[in-house]
Symmetry: C2
Amino acid sequence: MTDAVEPPKARRPNTRLEEVARAAGVSKSTVSRVINGEPYVSSKAREAVHQAITQLGYSPNQAARTLAGSRANCIALVVSEQGSRVLADPFFAGVLRGVNAELAGKRVQLVLMMSKEGDEQDLVNYLCGGHVDGVLVISLHGQDPLPRTLADAGLPTVVGGRPLGAGGVPYVDSDNFNGAMEAARYLVSLGRRRIATIAGPRDMAVGMDRLSGWKRGISQARMDADLVAYATDFTPESGAAAMADLLRREPALDAVFVGADIMALGALQTLHAHGKKVPDDVAVVGFDDLMIASTAVPPLTTIRQDVEQLGRTMTWRLMAELAGEENLPPFLLLPTSMVTRVSA
Amino acid sequence: MTDAVEPPKARRPNTRLEEVARAAGVSKSTVSRVINGEPYVSSKAREAVHQAITQLGYSPNQAARTLAGSRANCIALVVSEQGSRVLADPFFAGVLRGVNAELAGKRVQLVLMMSKEGDEQDLVNYLCGGHVDGVLVISLHGQDPLPRTLADAGLPTVVGGRPLGAGGVPYVDSDNFNGAMEAARYLVSLGRRRIATIAGPRDMAVGMDRLSGWKRGISQARMDADLVAYATDFTPESGAAAMADLLRREPALDAVFVGADIMALGALQTLHAHGKKVPDDVAVVGFDDLMIASTAVPPLTTIRQDVEQLGRTMTWRLMAELAGEENLPPFLLLPTSMVTRVSA
DNA sequence: CCAAAACCTGGGAGCGCTCCCAGAACGTTC
DNA sequence: GAACGTTCTGGGAGCGCTCCCAGGTTTTGG
């Protein structure tokens, strides 16, 4: 008996592949084949291995698999720090849920990374260092070169939301253009004559795409698409300020399409403060269909985008590429749908 | 020249530690020591290594480190699937931001895992399999045994929000009791005489702790703490139903403390529908201070909890334990603060 | 009936790192 | 200057797996 001066500390005598092999009466190689679902294993051996695995509660050591094999069994979700503050919480959580849902059952881990100002080089080094098989990037700002850099390094990358500065990198986005156009057409169909819009910041594609869609819808009705106010960011405050601006420029406006529910909340407050009744005096349509849309006063008519589906689709696209599928679509647009409530 | 029939596929001839050693004119061991910040390295050697690292853009292979060393340089954040739907998005995103903030600079990765109904055993196998050094668990439901299981397996674990079924496992939580008590006292100080509360589901500590705090505050003012309605979950709908129930039982109530802003939104709707003016007829105080609190109509007075700080503190506690610090507090309570707006 | 093809199996090198051990270089003290 | 500590350095085993290769066993087909 050796006298352990120190307690053995969190030692974990994990079952190793070799022990499974011994228990199943086969070789390491065969166990490895079973685990990786390779062909050329007799059903008898396969079954014995499966039984040994469950019996021993074996869980393969990822580090060893990564080191020995060529893939990491791991993908990264990169969120730009500022972005996560802005396009914000509900969006992010939804995407995450979708990613996880799609990953369920696959033996692939998700590591989360926030890209900060300074450590971009670190981030790129890490990602390109073979620690992950692919990357999902969301809430990009402006012309962020990150996706391009990653793609050029040969790392499979999928962007969530059309990237402004990354031509050629595959992306998945909601169909912001058509959603916004539908909103504009709906307001027209309601008989509104002076329809304004509050657009998101100019450096984000989501804001620009929704603005374009609105413009198209308005122009098709042979109306002037001149009542445009730009919000500086996706916040209620910014939406409130933009609404005040619009009201000053055109006191007689009778409808407004707001490019994000979160900004619409602010717009609603401004309208209320100016004594405008919604929807009687001014009809309001938002975008996103966050939870807050249904609890706003009055409940907000909005264009619904399925954020969870966005996460799922991004993941599917990435996994398909990792699986070696060819001729994958360079981008994917997810349909939106209108949710009619009270505000319009 | 060998003729490659196949393209070399995403080959990444990463710089290895050995190359850094050669470039710096030292041995592998010395480079390893520098990377891990160990003592007993001459400043000359240390500098040469640092220079070689930056010059070659070297990033150590995590898989190899994990395999060779004893730690994974990686912690997991486990979210229960249902929980993430309920206590929901803003909470989750806030915690995540805190965790990341605290992890910044440390060479520790964050992997995200959602625990689903069926795969609990898989989850435990994975977590206890040495793939991670420690675990952060949030949005636990009822008597979930997960934290206990992990802790018993010797895996450092920290829970976010007081766990109901995991005595002894360290946790970090907002001071729900005192926050709720402050809310009750504030309503009393306003001269309200019939003060009700809407409590969260009975199977979550957060709901019970806030209820206890409210009861204490009310009792201390020698008032009856009998107007309690339980919501079935943290949703506006559930809050609306509970409010209707309270109004039926006591039409003359003049204040209500709602145990979550998200439920308060529903309560506000019900009050409005019943023709009650807020705050004139009924004062309302919420809890959490989500973004929606400030944009509610009327803007909601609420008890603020700092969710990001929660994430940071959990992470700090876990990392401290991993670093071998002793006599760490078994639990940590984060202060709350009241935000006075219009509703009370 | 024998050759070729298909199926199945085990052995063993090596992925890139950490950590232990042995030893060199430098004091410091009697 | 011998004996000791302290600081620094390099060599090499081995972490647990995958993947290649060599070989055995069965099936197929001419």
